[in-house]
Amino acid sequence: MAMNELTTTKLNADSHLLLDQPLLKVPNELGRKNFKTTQRFVEHEQKTILNTLKATATASLAGSNPLESLDGMITRMNTLKRKLEVLQEEEKTINAQSRKRIQHLQDLYEIPSLADVKYDEWSRVRLNRLLVDYLLRNGYLESARQLAREKEIEELVDVDAFVQCHKIEGNLRQGDLTQCLNWCADNSKSLKKINSNLEIELRLQQYIELVRTAETQKKVEAIIHARKYLTMHSDSEFYYKAAGLLNFPANTEADRYKELYSSDRYTYLASLFLRTHHTLFSLPSTPPLQIALSAGLSALKTPSCHSSHLSSSSNPNSTSTSSLCPICSIELNDLARGVPYAHHTKSFVENDPVVLPNGRIYGRERLWGFNEKLGWVEGKVRDPTNPTEWYGVEEVKKVFIS
């Protein structure tokens, strides 16, 4: 038993952090994005300023007054500086967040075992993190914010990232592509790295909308649009299909084109965006809470939990010594119905098991303890599970469980 206990309470922090990758990856991605924005600003200003400076010098040789142009440059540089300051603030926030999160994960490494109270505390923080994440993913933004605030874990959850993500998703579902295209531009490098087709699908949608109008002018625009954005697709079939669309009206019955005109495409784009977003931030597509729950429900579930017979152990109306089983508790009982139960290779029963004439098995100590609390009735034993069943002490028999 002692050995067994040692192995089951062993805490292997490295493998324990399976669910916690996004915790560090999200701020890192945000930091990189912030940096790229900075770089873009600086490069742009550098080009403009140096060109203007050159032009001004040339013009001044020809006798024109350079002051106005210099003032313009100074204004531009001041604007750049302000932008950099904003980005610096963002950088500070992100770095502080990362630091806090590393520290939080580091805490786990310092906990000696799963039986330690510190692990309990840590795991409660984790549950709150997972809950906030779940609420955010489902768009329950205010609940998520409130929970994060009350539990003081705002630095350990990515409310802003999800709020933005949810907004873009909502816009897509309503047929608005602008925000999503901006997002693609902001993340263009990372998107290229993961070979994302999100942007080209959005561009295709713009094209479809132009063709849908059936106006000649718009169709010409559509063709220009297609040449500019759709030709970069590696699959030429994609391009041909788009080109073919020009010959079919919006009410076509041809399956191939009907599906392009369909409003379902927006739902598709929304889920494509979500997938892309989550991949980019290393967020699992299934909410981690759900992953943890489905593993946990199985690990805890026993054949007794949905049995029509009340279990002798951990049932609601017996045993004031033990808590009700969490799977049998109302909160999770229905949810756990579909998951497999845990695998066991060894019986696990209370010490010194005895059986009552009705077939119920209890540990002798618990049965005696229960009846003692009840106030012994001379020579009688009550079944803890059933208040109406009394037996003579001599009817309690030893049972052998191996």
Binding site: E5, N28, Q39, I102, Q290, P316, S323, I327, S347, I401
Partner: protein, 409 residues
């Protein structure tokens, strides 16, 4: 994790602050050139020509600042990837929960209530209700939508009652733990005494005993602590008769302790009076009883399940990887194919594994006890008895199939 922290510490000295400063330097260059030109317009061309290189250099400086950040970012990202090298995002397949968001929401709502987060719970129940203009996807199946709404309504209805219950629980716990006031707890125990007795709970007595101790030790009696014994005696006279029959020994002991009121610490009853965890223990058993009467476990099931999940997950993920590798599927859908050991506190039910078939007992294959007291599963029993007299696999005794009876763990 230390290595990662080390890597991240580099950001302390390398940040956009430098770029901001260098940007200011560029501005200074431009401003001072402007001032020169404004003062001596004839020198404009020379001043501008002289300005070109410094501005270029100062931009180069900004780029250097950025490069430094970039290099640290790359190193940190690399360290991060290394840390989570073998850890693909967990995929345990068999995702039955995805279609159960309704039930997950219910579990979350109840969790928030039992943790006393009433305002979050109420926001959540409002938000979880589908908006009238929600996504088209939701509108497609009107029937489903109706069910979902009804269910949320049920949760809401249910949760108001539940919220009141938990509010009461937290009130009682607060009085008990923070104020050391046992009255609300005792009142609650009295009004539920029948149910508590059925469960064999002695909560009411425990509470009253603690009250006796508290009075004896003179809680709330700052001026005359010596009055404690008298007050305890009065309390005992009033309350203990109803416990006399069931807790004879205990009440006698408590009364006996009154004799030692002058020097309690040296008395044999010391343990009842100077027990630091007594209040915490009583609070815990109160919480357990309170939740049990509501049909709920004492600790949040969501918490226990999520924690058990995190503990079991590495095993399940490994299993998933192996199965993917070997292109096999689970043979039994009802049971996990591997052991997922959990720490001792996570076992709630007894488990019976048939010593003959090595299978876990189930409702259709229940444990059966032979007259000798040995237990095997029904299917094993059928197999070895073959409808005739047979010998128990574990002892010499012989019996018939019909002599065996089902037992309940």
């Amino acid at each position: 994790m230390e290595a990662l922290l080390e890597e991240h510490r580099r950001y302390d000295n390398v940040h956009l602050g430098h770029a901001v400063n260098d940007c200011q330097r560029t501005i200074d260059l431009l401003v001072s050139a402007r001032d020169t030109i404004a003062a001596e317009p004839q020198k404009a061309s020379i001043a501008l020509a002289k300005l070109n290189n410094p501005v270029k250099q100062s931009f180069d400086k900004i780029h250097d600042d950025l490069k430094a950040i970039n290099s640290i970012q790359n190193k940190y990202t690399k360290a991060l990837d290394k840390k989570f090298k073998d850890k693909t995002l967990p995929d345990i397949g068999n995702d039955v929960l995805s279609s159960q968001s309704r039930l997950i929401n219910r579990a979350i709502a109840m969790h928030l209530l039992r943790e006393g987060q009433f305002s979050v719970a109420s926001t959540f129940l409002q938000e979880a209700e589908p908006q009238p203009d929600a996504a088209d996807g939701l509108m497609q199946d009107v029937r489903m939508r109706g069910m979902w709404e009804r269910d949320i309504a049920n949760v809401k209805l249910h949760s108001e009652g539940l919220q009141q219950q938990f509010a009461e629980m937290y009130h009682i716990l607060h009085e008990l733990k923070q104020q050391r006031n046992l009255d609300p707890a005792i009142r609650w125990a009295r009004s539920n005494s029948k149910n508590l007795d059925q469960r064999g709970s002695n909560l009411e007595f425990e509470l009253c005993r603690l009250q006796f101790v508290a009075l004896y030790l003179g809680y709330g009696l700052h001026n005359s602590p010596s009055m404690g014994a008298v007050r305890a005696w009065e309390y005992a006279k009033q309350e203990f008769p109803s416990f006399q029959q069931r807790y004879t020994k205990e009440t006698n002991q408590l009364m006996g302790s009154l004799v030692y009121s002058a020097n309690l610490t040296a008395s044999p009853y010391r343990q009842y009076f100077y027990n630091d965890s007594a209040w915490e223990d009583v609070a815990n058993s109160f919480t357990r009883e309170f939740c049990s009467l509501l049909g709920l476990s004492a600790d949040s099931p969501l918490y226990i399940a999520a924690t058990a999940g995190a503990i079991a997950l590495p095993t399940l993920v490994k299993l998933r990887a192996i199965m993917k590798d070997k292109r096999t599927e689970w043979t039994t859908e009802d049971e996990l194919p591997v052991d997922t050991p959990l720490p001792p506190g996570y076992q709630f039910h007894s488990i019976f594994v048939c010593p003959v078939s090595k299978e876990q007992s189930t409702e259709t294959n229940p444990p059966m006890m032979m007259p000798c007291g040995h237990v095997i599963c029904k299917e094993s029993l059928e197999r070895i008895s073959k409808n005739s007299r047979f010998k128990c696999p574990y002892c010499p005794s012989e019996s018939h199939y019909q002599d065996a009876k089902q037992v309940y763990l």
